[in-house]
């Protein structure tokens, strides 16, 4: 029974393919793999926008949108209709073709990233042997589309935003990839399906997730920080810092193209969070051995929603970084820490299991964190400011 519920979408697809004409079967199979992704994740985007707005409002002791539909949950629908009815303005001096292509490319690359995410047992669009590499290659194209948008708009704010975006995303790509290298080392595979299967076992009730090892925890923290920067989320939202450069690279976009940028950004965030789940949080695996009866796809989306909640929480807490702080953090903290985590993962691989392995692997990460953190927060001459006349 649980098996049937777990595999319900897989069996549905197989029977649909089986009952279609033979010459159409490959096409039907491809279509049935892609369409759910194209439907589910944009709907998740709609849900996330309203949850984010309400969550941020609650953090600021406000109600948030509560007028459209029950508790305001039809707000995304109203927003979508509004963006559809808005005029689509293209600047006279813009590079029309590139300006048009940029949002499309962004959304397309974001969707491509989902092709290697296992969202449930046997539920993956394409099980590539080099899935993780494919993911990072595609997400690099996202930077290209952002730069296309900023460059083609012919607006100084757009260009500034695009320059910031490229500088930030390239800087954070290094720690992002390095922190996932430790998982690839441990799993011995680049295939996302195999990485998840490696984590699927349990000792007692505890799962074998990589996040529950010292190097996995460090790697996960680094990965999520880098993912925040990669998806241009607050506090790393310099490319679109509205108090500084209007709306950054999509200043000159209006109407549905603007909505597409929003969609692409959120889809990118979901995808990279999904990869983080796949690499560190056991993908679709249940968190405890006695919960394995719950369908695998529910676990994937539950983890995704929890991490999105953390993203919203962080957005409601932290102010935007300055550009030099951002770069210092990437190159002076994230990168060395990622290397330390890789070292720790290597030690973990060659030591016998036990408490000693835990200590030996946790020590360099902790020491590195304290040491580098001290340097990073020390040498900037930041002291507690004294207001002599305000007392």
């Amino acid at each position: 029974m649980t098996q049937a519920v777990d595999q319900v979408f897989v069996t549905l697809k197989h029977s649909a393919v089986f009952h279609s004409p033979t010459e159409l079967q490959p096409a039907v199979s491809i279509l049935l793999s892609i369409v759910p992704v194209l439907v589910v994740f944009p709907s998740l985007f709609a849900v996330t926008t309203i949850l984010e707005r309400k969550g941020l409002a609650r953090i600021q002791n406000r109600y948030g949108p509560n007028r459209v539909g029950p508790f305001g949950f039809l707000q995304p629908l109203a927003d979508g209709l509004k963006s559809l009815t808005k005029e689509d303005i293209v600047p006279a001096s813009a590079d029309k073709l590139v300006h048009f292509l940029a949002p499309l490319l962004l959304v397309m690359t974001a969707f491509l990233e989902y092709s290697i995410l296992p969202i449930g047992r046997n539920m993956i669009v394409a099980d590539l042997d080099s899935g993780v590499v494919f993911f990072f290659a595609v997400s690099a194209a996202m930077e290209l589309s952002i730069f296309m948008a900023g460059w083609s708009s012919r607006n100084k704010y757009s260009l500034l935003g695009a320059m910031r975006a490229v500088a930030q995303m390239i800087s954070y790509e290094a720690p992002l990839i390095l922190s996932s290298v430790c998982v690839i080392m441990a799993a011995g595979s680049l295939s996302t399906v195999q990485i998840v299967e490696k984590q699927a076992g349990y000792s007692g009730i505890w799962p074998h997730w990589y996040v529950l090892t010292p190097w996995g925890f460090g790697g996960f923290a680094l990965f999520m920080i880098a993912a925040t920067a990669e998806s241009n989320r607050s506090p790393f939202d310099l490319p679109e810092g509205e108090s500084e450069i209007i709306a950054g690279y999509f200043t000159e976009y209006s109407g549905f193209k603007f909505a597409l940028f929003f969609l692409g950004e959120y889809l990118g965030m979901f995808a990279i969070t999904g990869l983080g789940i796949t690499l560190f949080l056991g993908g679709w695996a249940a968190p405890f051995s006695f919960l394995t009866w719950v369908p695998s796809w529910i676990w994937f989306f539950a983890k995704l929603l929890v991490l999105i909640g953390v993203f919203i929480w962080i957005r409601g807490t932290l102010p935007r970084l300055r550009m030099d702080q951002l770069m210092n953090f990437a190159w002076k903290f994230m990168l060395p820490m990622a290397l330390v985590v890789i070292l720790s993962a290597g030690i973990w691989r060659f030591m016998p299991a036990g408490v000693l392995r835990w200590l030996v692997c946790a020590a360099p990460i902790l020491a590195g964190y304290l040491f580098i953190g001290r340097i990073l927060s020390g040498g900037q001459g930041l002291e507690k400011r004294i207001y002599r006349f305000a007392e």
Binding site: R58, I59, N61, Y63, W313, G316, T317, L318, Y369
Partner: protein, 187 residues
């Protein structure tokens, strides 16, 4: 240690998030059309004309003395004095306004007309949802629209209205006593 401030901040926002669901006093938002604050008694928006009794024409306290028209800083009051007279609250024959218009698009809610009126005939209203789709005729309020009963005045400014009523009753008593005193002197 690096990250201590972030942890503190996260704790604070989490406290706010959950607190807003639990503690009523955190959510200070008044959802206006559905919920309304009780207006303080000194609220003032635009002036209105007070009338006694049930008839808004006959009971109008205004005697068309035009003091308010003259004193009004932005000059938004337009009064035409009547040809005939009608009895006021004390029974004395008085002029009354044929036309009493206030251009509320010009009015600046300064309350000077109220301060200068010797007859307590003009007071400040508290109604503020006054939008109209006609910005000329819709904002030039005639006598008929400005006239509000004394009981309405009591409902929006109870303390002030009671005081005014007492003063008017006193004046009325004096006015009634005077002819008697005059008659006694003549005798």
């Amino acid at each position: 240690m690096l990250g201590k401030g972030i942890a503190k901040g996260l704790a604070e926002t989490a406290r706010n998030f959950f607190g807003s669901f639990v503690a009523e006093e955190r959510l200070t938002t008044v959802q206006f059309p559905d919920e309304r604050l009780i207006q303080p008694e000194a609220t003032r928006v635009f002036p209105f004309l007070v009338y006694d009794g049930a008839d808004s024409e006959m009971g109008l306290r205004c005697v068309a003395c035009k003091i308010c028209e003259v004193e009004c800083p932005p000059k938004c009051i337009y009064i035409d004095k009547s040809a005939g007279k009608k009895p006021d609250y004390a029974g004395k024959q008085q002029f009354f306004p044929d036309k009493f218009d206030i251009d509320v698009s010009v009015c600046m809610s300064c309350q000077i007309c109220v301060e200068v009126c010797p007859f307590d005939a003009i007071k400040m209203d508290t109604a503020f949802e006054l939008s109209t789709d006609d910005r000329f005729a819709g904002l030039m309020w005639p006598k008929e629209r400005l006239a509000r009963s004394n009981s309405y005045y009591h409902s929006i400014h109870p303390a002030e209205a009671t005081e005014v009523d007492a003063q008017l009753a006193e004046k009325k008593a004096k006015a009634e006593a005077k002819p008697v005193a005059g008659a006694a002197a003549a005798r």
